[in-house]
């Protein structure tokens, strides 16, 4: 393909040769890797799914016969209606509060330069950079001291810690790409700050808030450590309930634990499908701007 006129023919030859040798093995490696990954993924998900539908499964490729009884059993055994309700309430509250706190803050961080901005940015980055267990344990201890842990409020407060920074990290670039002269022109039309927020910024920020909200949703439903550290018996979200039932194995049939896992999985996949209508897969991972390195 290259019609490069290079004076040294060696360069071109090397280019050609590496091309031929590298190109196809790269494809092999890439497809091999993708396949291996898919096998592990499908194997992992599949084992749970098959086990949840199996009567008994012991040292064989497939269970002996299939049944859906475990699902009903899991629902009552683990009090899943309560668990799903808690999950819904916690996620909803975290979603709403983190947007309420995060969006105005990201507006200021995107638009203003003020003394101490660097420090503030660093502070907002820290909850993402520090492992949840590190701040989760002191946080849970502090929350217990104020009687705020072991119940829903504790779970919500703890989950806000990574969620608010996440909203800020997602929304700040989003605000930055809005032309500031829009606000100026609204001002020149006679609009005050309140009107600018209501009539200009809010409608334009809706897509960004949708994306940020979806990301917070996925992360909060899946957040194990912080919920685990701050929840009590009646304030477990689904992922914590799942972990607890697995560790209490022996008392309950492994199949009903897996049935619960499948329900959790279905819930996550539905959220994911909805999420992917609004954001692209990469955004689900992180929309962290280059970490401020001085």
């Amino acid at each position: 393909m290259s019609t490069v006129s290079v004076s040294d023919p060696m360069v071109e030859n090397v280019g050609r040769r590496t091309r031929r040798i590298v190109a196809s093995p790269t494809q092999w490696v890439v497809w091999g890797g993708v396949t291996a990954f898919m096998i592990f993924l499908i194997g992992t998900v599949g084992s749970v799914l098959v086990n949840s539908l199996g009567r008994t499964w012991f040292d064989a490729w497939w269970p002996q016969g299939f049944t859906t009884q475990w699902y009903g059993q899991a629902w009552t055994q683990f009090d899943l209606s309560q668990v799903f309700l808690v999950t819904l309430e916690v996620t909803g509250a975290v979603l709403l509060i983190s947007l309420l706190i995060g969006v105005p803050a990201s507006y200021v961080l995107a638009r203003k330069n003020f003394p101490g901005k660097g420090l503030l940015n660093l502070l907002f980055l820290m909850p993402i950079m520090v492992p949840p267990i590190t701040y989760g344990i002191p946080l849970a201890t502090a929350l217990y001291r104020f009687g705020l842990a072991g119940n829903m409020s504790g779970v919500i407060l703890a989950n806000l810690v990574p969620s608010v920074p996440f909203v800020i990290m997602t929304m700040t670039p989003f605000v930055e790409q809005l032309d500031p002269s829009l606000e100026n022109s609204a001002r020149m039309c006679g609009a005050g700050t309140g009107v600018i927020f209501r009539r200009i910024l809010m409608p334009l920020l809706v897509p960004g808030m949708l994306a940020a909200g979806i990301l917070v949703l996925v992360r909060t439903v899946g957040m194990f450590e912080l919920t685990f550290l701050t929840s009590g018996n009646s304030s477990q979200t689904i992922v914590v309930a799942l972990f607890n039932s697995m560790n209490a194995a022996g008392i309950r049939a492994q199949q009903s634990v897996d049935a619960m896992a499948v329900m959790y999985m279905l819930m996550m996949l539905i959220i994911l499908l909805v999420a992917l209508r609004f954001v692209n897969p990469t955004q689900l991972v992180a929309r962290v701007k280059e970490a401020p390195q001085d």
Binding site: F124, T141, V239, V257
Partner: protein, 308 residues
């Protein structure tokens, strides 16, 4: 006419207005109030608990003296101090693997091609499922009677089942399964962000595919690699449920998060638990700082000619 009569207040000499003006000039005006909820939030829920934990960690337990007694206990007890090594032994290889293996994949997939969204969607699934569910699935899949060992024995690659659960490999594989997609998607966003015309320019200057990758793409990717490594490391280093479920949590996979957790919730020794949590944060931030330092040397080194 009167409808648009905008009041123009006469302010020939308003000291408060002038002061407001001067502060606005330095970026201090009423919009800063919008930051208040976020500041209150981060102080109350992050800074305060962190400082509280720090003070707890510096409070000696019963029968101990000295503000560093919890830390001294940690480093004196090899069962606890070894958790640092046991965690790093899992987190660093897993993160390195996830980050480095992502590069060729992401480089190859950086352009637009049909099915790209399908591949990336597939990759998000394990991230979405989370560590607990992944651990449960791997327990079934990798177990002695699991599909993987069955298949490997069927095709006579092995004679006896490989032991892949309740040990290092179980935890390592779970870190790869949930960590690789994370690293890959991040690096993909970085490689997609590199202007493709740069590589085309390099090729018109006579650079081969390998030279283009090494001399143009990789240096531009370096900051992204460092960030990806850091974020992926945060995830791997806080390995907790998968170590409990897939490893041997009292032995070889007694990672630092488990140590902190058991002190807090099994022995109710919050002071000691906080000290362990602080050590955990410090070790993690040290590794990240080292990576960023390395990146800086590497990055300046390859652009070259600019001096230190």
């Amino acid at each position: 006419m009167s409808a648009e009569a905008v009041p123009v207040s006469a302010v020939p000499a308003d000291p408060r207005g002038a002061w407001r003006h001067r502060m606005a000039d330095r970026g201090i005006d009423r919009t800063l109030w919008l930051l208040l909820p976020a500041v209150i939030f981060v102080v109350a829920l992050f800074v305060y608990p962190f400082l509280y934990g720090l003070s707890l960690s510096l409070t000696p337990g019963t029968g101990e003296t000295g503000i560093f007694s919890n830390y001294a206990k940690f480093f004196a007890d090899s069962y606890y101090s070894s958790t640092i090594w046991l965690t790093l032994r899992l987190a660093i290889p897993a993160t390195l693997f996830n980050t480095l293996a992502s590069v060729p994949f992401a480089y190859w997939m950086r352009g637009r091609f049909p099915g790209k969204r399908a591949v990336t969607t597939m990759l998000v699934v394990p991230i979405t499922l989370g560590t607990v569910l992944t651990a449960e699935g791997l327990l079934n899949f990798l177990g002695n009677a699991g599909w993987l060992n069955r298949f490997l024995m069927l095709i006579h690659v092995i004679d006896a089942p490989l032991k892949l659960t309740y040990n290092y490999w179980g935890v390592f594989l779970s870190l790869v399964l949930s960590g690789f997609p994370f690293a890959f998607l991040l690096i993909l966003s970085y490689t997609s962000g590199i202007d493709p015309t740069l590589e085309r320019a390099a090729s018109t200057l006579g650079a081969s595919a390998w030279q283009r990758f090494m001399r143009v793409t990789l240096p531009l990717l370096a900051p992204g690699l460092a960030t990806t490594f850091s974020l992926a490391f945060v995830m791997a280093f806080s390995v907790f449920p998968s170590a409990l479920m897939l490893g041997n949590p009292q032995g070889e996979e007694h990672v630092i998060a488990i140590a902190a957790y058991e002190q807090a919730y099994t022995y109710y020794n919050y002071n000691y638990a906080s000290a362990i949590a602080m050590v955990m944060g410090a070790v993690e931030l040290l590794v990240i700082a080292a990576v960023q330092l390395l990146r800086r040397t590497f990055y300046i080194g390859t652009t070259g000619g600019k001096g230190a």
